[in-house]
Amino acid sequence: MKLNKDAKELLERYLYAVKKELSGKQRDDIVAEIESYLYDLLEERYPKNADVDEKELEAVLKEMGSPRKVAAQYSPNQYLIGPRLFPLYKIVLKIMLLVVLGALTLSMIISNIVEFSGSVWQVMLEYLGTLWSGGLSVVGVITLIFAIIERTTEGKNIEEIEELKELKISELPELPEKEKEISRIGVSLEILLGIIGMVFFIYIQKTGGLVPYWRNDGGSSEMVRLFTENFIQLIPFSLALTGLGVTRNITLLVQGYHNALTNWWDAALKIADSILLVFLISSLPLFTLDLFRVLEETSVLAQYEVQANTGLGVLMGLGIFGNIVELIKQIGREIRNPSL
């Protein structure tokens, strides 16, 4: 058996293509072995003195398949992140997405407190754009890091993965039936706090943001401003939402379990709360530290009024983010496992 000139060239081209698809030290050796196999195969099919032409060789190569397919058999890692690392990858990705998206939300809120451009739509669009590109970068970077870990720790035990395989009873989720149960003490406490809050809001509304203080000298009391006009304007809404929250908790206490009504009620309240928080943030400053100035004219504390208000804004921003995360989880749960 002898290859003619065209067939010889075809064989060389085929082997060159296989070699290009391979990587590593052994590629020349692998290609030599495939060549040896092909000659063995041809020798068996064609008599000793026969000339093999391009067409006949092509038929044999077709049986082998494309160079890519042949080379793929020798490459152990035909995946980016394998089943060994995937559970850890998912957990890290989730946490990092939450952290980065949270930080972006927070920075959006802070930069708008410092300097509001005046157009809510523009701010929202820019914010969505940042979320999208930030989220994509997180996914890209984490995937890249895990692809590297996958290739550098092949066949080794990774402690974090071993830990994931261990049973931890406390991490098991509650059964859906159990999730419907309510904690009577918790709900009662929430009702109490809600009522205290409502009394407080009504009082502040009545005094116009002033609170009493007692002078050291003889017990005579005077009023001093604690809350700004901006805050007082929003009190009716705060009052209404707190009232709705208390009503929902009373409903829970009476019926004794969570159902679709109380769950959706809660979701709606979370949305309304978040909107109120946005308005509160855009109305900063909400309180003054005049109280300290009255007590002591050169009070150091009173100087930090701006910082204290900004701090409150940041806390409220975190509140919005927490609400959104909770809301997504809650709606997801409700869709997977609807309450009756």
Partner: protein
């Protein structure tokens, strides 16, 4: 339609069952020196169908695991790569064969129960 799906599943399960046995089949024929093509032929003649796309990567893996040794030798008319089990591989073959026989016995008993 139903039949096509059934046949597809059958083929998948058969391949899954075969995957573990290929190592044993290849090792069983390597107590004596063989080159790749002759090993494929021997296995096929004895009823165990296997192609170069499965066998060659497997031989490389076994060599990496220090069960085989190989060398290129120029014999008429071209160079060929010859494989044979080393001592470690022979011991492994012995242990795997014992394990295989006991598995076969267990499965035989299990299948008899279903008759």
């Amino acid at each position: 339609m139903m039949n096509a799906k059934h046949d597809h599943e059958l083929e998948k399960l058969k391949q899954e069952m075969r995957r573990g046995v290929i190592v044993l089949a290849a090792m069983s024929q390597l107590t004596q020196e063989q080159y790749g093509y002759s090993l494929i032929k021997t296995l096929n003649e004895k009823g165990f169908e296997i192609g170069q796309d499965t066998l060659y990567p497997l031989l490389r893996r076994l060599e990496e695991q220090n069960l085989l040794e190989s060398e290129w030798r120029v014999e008429d008319p071209r160079p060929r790569r010859y494989y044979r089990l080393n001592d470690n591989g022979k011991e492994m073959l012995q242990q795997l064969s014992e394990n295989w026989r006991s598995q076969v016995e267990i499965i035989r008993r299990l299948l008899n129960e279903t008759k």
